[in-house]
Symmetry: C2
Subunit: 311 residues, 2 copies
DNA sequence: GATGCTTACGATACCCGTAAAGATA
DNA sequence: TATCTTTACGGGTATCGTAAGCATC
């Protein structure tokens, strides 16, 4: 048994049992991939893959049970390397984040700039993507930290921590009839065509829920991934915008007004998600601490590396 | 990085940084051991060992942090093998127990015989040793299950479950003056020379505690590792014996009488100890279940493989 | 001087890649 | 037929063991 064999096992599952692809992603030849699988199966004395003729179709029972152990081993080899780098070059390295547009634009900038000042030699890699991709990137070990408002933390192999809470805000062009409605109600808003986020993004579910709860039917004429797009179309008069409150800048968004909307929508929580067992460099923990001071190194480490198992 | 390097790192620590010994226990040459360590340190970019000239003295800081990860990886490689064997030969294999004389003689025989009937092809290996060795054997992964009355479960990397409870009994030769004392008291017992277990064995601590609590000074003229030895000397009239109640057989121990001693000594609990993260074959879990029916497979697995970490 | 670590060197075994052949859709 | 897997074979590399050279105690 060697590491290459384990990498091949893992990659074979990831690549849907296409050994040619496996070979390509691991930068090696198919022949070797085949042989490694065969060798390992011989050594263990059980077939790990279900075959139909020469094609691999899936995992056998033993294969299914072995896979998580294989993944843990490979995760640990990465951990060893990260740990070593930690000492070799203390404040030098790489930090990969996956986050949505909203967080990248409005919540993270101050954190990132503070981080960059303290750790100028750490290369920051910012993956901007949707919540599902964030989970996938964390799982694959391609990013160290995920930040999103939805769809994290439900999974067994991820942990998440509350980062901050925020509310949605209603924006309209100057002089819009809604500016006269005080106090503002959902009922009044629902009279107008709406522009807001795509489903599954930036608390959209909370918006829908708020209207649904009062039995209001909304006319969402447009949806977008980010507030900037929404603002543009609100400015053109296509409808009333509902965006994350922190996405509105009085100065930059001069043609728009934000309406008092306290209590209309439920609070949203943005989460910091991590992969269990994924070793984090000191500066990664500092980054998290910059996000929210009560997310201490100790608290994070305890959750990412659950007690016991020394495994 | 390869497995041999990791094995060498682990073994170097275990063998107190004597590379010659490491080479011997791993059945390889010192030269290779040296080179492997050097190669790994080069690859990781940090020194793992503190050196004085050519001698290795201990682990560096990074070495200390890496060691648990290395051990987890090696543990997982064993787990892979055990898992595979599980499927390759379902009811065939190996089960190693470490237990004290008392348990081996008096508690386990019915369990073992039932186990052997159900799993005739499993080779049972019974290590008889003291509590400390049991812990060491579990830690080293040399046994799957440890059974003892003391000194288990205090350690982070082991888990233990209550197996059964029992009491000490007082035995004397026929016609001994103590047979007249009803009810029996510790005070009366302390008048006579005593023969019982060595310190650290079979609940000896509880015996001492019982006398000490009443301010009684005892004259322990002999101590032994097992009840058979104690019984022999009690029979010779050297003193009053205090042994585990289950070690007395009315038929086999014809020349001895057991005295009613309810309430004199505190109850003892015998524990089943396991190593966290050490994969257990199905039949090992069955063995534990035979010991105590409420120790179900599910309960054991949950404790040995703590939640989360997929890992 | 005994023990222990490192380096050098030759033999072996392992791993990889090319290429050809066979299987599958 | 095109794609994919296996097997065979040659070249390169890494690992291992022997042996010699040094450091440490």
């Amino acid at each position: 048994m060697n590491f290459q064999q384990l990498r091949i096992i893992r990659e074979t599952v990831r690549r849907n049992f296409n050994l040619t692809e496996v070979a390509n992603t691991l930068y090696t030849a198919q022949s070797g991939v085949s042989k490694h699988i065969k060798d390992l199966e011989d050594e263990l004395g059980v077939a790990l893959f279900v075959r139909k003729g020469k094609r691999l179709l899936g995992l056998t029972e033993p294969g299914k049970e072995l896979l998580p152990v294989v993944e843990r081993i490979l995760l640990d080899t990465q951990n060893i390397k990260r740990l070593a780098d930690q000492f070799a070059k203390r404040d030098e390295g790489h930090l990969a984040l996956a986050t949505t547009h909203t967080q990248a634009c409005y919540a993270l900038p101050p954190v990132v700039s503070r981080f960059k000042q303290t750790f100028p030699r750490v290369h920051l890699e910012l993956h901007q993507c949707g919540p599902k991709e964030i989970v996938a990137l964390l799982r694959a070990g391609q990013v160290d930290i995920g930040i999103a408002t939805e769809a994290v933390g439900v999974e067994e192999d991820l942990v998440s921590f509350p980062y901050y809470q925020w509310q949605h805000a209603v924006i309209v062009p100057e002089g819009h009839p809604l500016t006269q409605v005080v106090p503002l109600t959902l009922e009044a808003i629902a009279e107008f065509p709406l522009i807001t986020y795509h489903e599954g993004y930036t608390g959209r579910a909370r918006i829908d829920a708020a209207f649904a709860e009062q039995g209001l039917v909304t006319d969402i004429v447009m949806s977008a991934l980010d507030a900037d797009v929404i603002k543009s179309y609100v400015e053109l008069g296509l409808g009333v915008g509902i965006i994350a409150a922190m996405a509105y800048h009085p100065k930059r968004d001069a043609g728009l007004v934000v309406l008092e909307s306290k209590g209309l929508f439920e609070l949203n929580t943005t989460w910091i998600a991590l992969r269990r067992g994924h070793y984090l460099r000191d500066y990664a923990l500092r980054f998290i601490e910059y996000c929210s001071p009560n997310l201490t190194e100790e608290r994070i480490r305890d959750s990412v590396f659950p007690k016991s198992h020394g495994v």
